[in-house]
């Protein structure tokens, strides 16, 4: 059993580069986000009961178990699937809960967390492909915000965690700003696909154009962050401008991502290529000195997107 796990581990390590590459923006953004969550988590867990540590390990393992699609592949290649997956979950979840164990000194919970994760590898697998996130996560959204519906099905947990973090705005005057900046940095991943032309025609062209599409998206952000904004303004009214700055960055990333998507449109290309300007836009969130360059690119992409619409859809 251990030999096949060793082989599996080598196989996974070889995959690592490709996994990081295919993770794209969400993956790159997820790393600092996870760090923030871990630090917040460690602090918040100070007064939490001891069993919450194995619970986190098991929840992580379950969510991973039901997201992966390689069960059948591993079975066909002759691996002892239950053991292989269980050991992988145990390794990773131990790493995740390690800071909590160190902080709380609750070491007896370590074997419970390991055994719990190990057991997750043996859970039965669903045969029908389905999105991980339950329907209520997307069903409240208007269908015209199809990019968000799709993104929430892909990265719903990440967005949900970030939103929950916005509810901790009373704890610090900069909390909401940080959450809004991190949220803004995820926005390019929402617009990373091109829709079929029939959808563009019906929703964008006959639905008020790019400007209105952008406004629809911005209105959604405002609705989503109403509780966080209210809490921030109630507890730190003197720092109202920090919320405004955060919303400004969200508006910037929305405008940039939408304009970029249609400016770089190409028939047959289904995925938006993330290039240098997107990287600059991303870094401008943390280095505002880059904002003039991003502004220049934004104007350029808006013009290109308009040209594309003129060329592709008008007589």
């Amino acid at each position: 059993m251990m030999t096949s796990f060793g082989g599996y581990l080598r196989f996974r390590i070889r995959q690592l580069g490709r996994i990081l590459y295919s993770a794209g923006w969400p993956g790159v953004v997820a790393l600092p986000l996870l760090l923030v969550f871990a630090l917040q988590g460690v602090e918040a867990m100070g007064g939490a009961p001891g069993w919450s540590i194995p619970l986190i390990a098991v929840l992580l393992s379950i969510s991973w178990h039901y997201r992966r699609k390689d069960h059948l592949f591993l079975k066909r290649t002759g691996f002892a699937v239950g053991w292989i997956l269980g050991l992988e979950y145990a390794m990773v979840s131990t790493l995740v809960v390690l800071p909590l164990l160190i902080y709380s000194g609750n070491w007896p919970m370590l074997p419970v967390a390991i055994l719990g994760s190990l057991a997750c590898g043996f859970l039965p697998v669903r045969t029908v492909q389905a999105s991980f996130n339950p329907a209520f996560i997307v069903n409240w959204l208007p269908v015209t915000l199809f990019e968000w519906r799709s993104a929430l099905r892909r990265y719903g947990v990440l967005f949900a965690l970030l939103w929950l973090l916005s509810l901790t705005a009373p704890y610090g005057m900069a909390v909401l700003l940080i959450v809004l900046l991190l949220w803004a940095s995820l926005i390019p991943s929402v617009f990373e696909y091109q829709e079929p032309r029939e959808v563009t025609i019906a929703v964008i062209l006959n639905g008020g154009g790019l400007w209105q599409h952008g406004l629809r998206h911005f209105a959604l952000q405002l609705v989503v962050f109403v509780p966080g904004l209210a809490l921030h303004l109630a507890f730190h009214p003197q720092y109202w401008y920090l919320a405004l700055i955060g919303l400004g960055f969200i508006a910037l990333m929305l405008a940039f991502s939408i304009a970029y998507k249609y400016a770089t449109w190409h028939p047959g290309r289904q995925r938006v290529i993330q290039s240098l300007p997107v990287t600059l836009a991303y870094f401008s969130l943390f280095f505002p000195l880059l904002l003039p360059v991003v502004g220049f690119y934004l104007l350029r992409f808006v013009k290109r997107a308009r040209d594309h619409f003129k060329m592709a859809y008008h007589a």
Partner: protein
Amino acid sequence: MLDISNLTASYGNTLILDAINLKAAAGEIHGVLGGNGAGKTTFFKALCRLGPSFSGAVSWEGTTLSPAEIGYLPAEPYFYPYQTGQEYLELCSHRSPGFPIDKWNGLFQLPLKGLTETYSTGMRKKLALLGILAGGYQVLLLDEPFGGLDLESTEILYEILEELKRNGLCLLLSSHIMATVRKVCDRVSYLSEGQIQQTFDKVDFPALEQFIKTKVHDRTKAAWAEIRKPL
């Protein structure tokens, strides 16, 4: 009347379509036939401005027709990822909100609550077809609409095409299946070497089959003679 005049399309310096002229009436299904690589898909893509550089004029009932007024069913439809069939149809019918999605889906019985990633090739084709019907277009371009469909769905598609014809839509359709062309098309244009070589009315379809046989036979006669030559 759909009037396409002097449609020229090229990829870089390679000319694919050379001044194509074609007319099709409302309520007509006009077949576009041709060998692999003859330019059928390029013809449709040029009308929708998807890809090739092009020139020429397209009008519908005497008025210039914009690409946004043409529905296009590609041979291999693409959908936005992590989207359900229901959402796709709701988006497509955004400009014609009266489109009864459930009633039309009664024909194909697609699992509209499921993600499009879980659909088979045939199901994707059916969903894309419903999508362009939901769009309320008057002119439809159907590139190999029967490709990947099962026998029952093929019959249903025949019925749908008849219904669209009755409703006065103009359809350009490409297919490699002669039986299909014979059954659904009112006229057929044969595309070869970047030009429409000949257009056949329904009564002339036997002549069309003879035309294709002769064309193939002329091309293959010498090759077969070589193959059959003893080594």
